[in-house]
Symmetry: C2
Subunit: 185 residues, 2 copies
């Protein structure tokens, strides 16, 4: 099984005008992406935000399904949300992975735009088969901030549909990308 870790970051991302911001948590991002991560065998799902109040909110959402009424009502949801680990930064997530794997993960960022150095899905699928740990990073709001993208080890090519419409939700994009990388065909 490829050693793929998934992260959803709320900072540094850009808003509609291109300003770098810390975005708010969306409840269903946590549910949908943790369920997809569980389905495709990702090792952990890091939810990244530096904001203290947002961390409290994430813990509240998770605990409803892992300790509260929801845990008994829907155990499958608990199994997915158990993958979530909350971190201040992608660097902190990478540090934790280093502690587990005894090697730092390569970081792979996703973007709705093609970059000169983008690698394609087939290439990254092949890289994953080699067995080294990788941290696949999704951005919320209008996507990851450019300086952050530039620091990554790899930039994954955007998802192409059949039209010029290029505005999937991060929840849909995460599911489709995990399927392209790890799906059984």
């Amino acid at each position: 099984m490829p050693r793929l870790y998934v992260a959803l970051t709320h900072y540094p991302v850009v808003n509609k005008r291109g300003d770098t911001i810390a975005a708010a948590i969306t409840n269903l991002d946590l549910h949908d992406i943790s369920r997809a991560a569980k389905t495709y065998g990702a090792k952990s799902f890091y939810v990244v935000t530096p904001l203290a109040d947002q961390k409290i909110l994430i813990n509240k959402i998770i605990s409803h399904w892992t300790n509260g009424f929801g845990a008994a009502y829907n155990p499958a949801r608990r199994r997915a949300l158990d993958l979530i680990k909350i971190k201040d930064s992608i660097a902190d997530a990478a540090e934790e992975i280093n502690g587990i794997e005894k090697i730092y993960p390569k970081t792979v960022v996703t973007s709705a735009r093609r970059h000169p150095s983008s690698i394609n899905f087939k290439e990254f699928r092949d890289i994953l088969q080699l067995g080294q740990p990788h941290l696949l990073v999704f951005g919320t709001a209008w996507g990851l901030a450019e300086p952050f993208i530039d620091q990554a080890d790899y930039i994954l090519e955007p998802i192409l549909g059949r039209t010029d419409y290029n505005h999937l939700s991060v929840r849909s994009a995460a599911g489709i990308i995990l399927d392209r990388l790890l799906g059984t065909r």
Copy 2:
């Protein structure tokens, strides 16, 4: 371009106990699936419910983004939500498609479980290339009711990940299935 129509139905679906119910609308189902449908070139996105109050709610959500503040703030969202048509039943959606295409669509249902007569993604991808209209139906809650599944022309195989965890959200499943059927590779 294949003539694929997408439907999300809230009746007849089953709850956790297997009872047939009419499920409530989830706001982000409308957003995520319309954005995926637009990305992959689906012709329309039928949102199906027989409940009058739920239709009012759908119209309220859509009109915020197509007429209200949201239309100016985020025109891309409007382009996706413009694909939505509200219908009482899948039969009504098929009737409308017949009016457009001068032929009734074949219905294709999705399910998280494999059925004896399931067709696989490659088979359905090939069928779509032949050019006849098809209506791809997703169920909310715990999935489409069995008698409804049995009446469909085709049952699409479930999405396989890499684990035994088989609980994607309908939003994620719709994105992944559209990518498998219509994605550019």
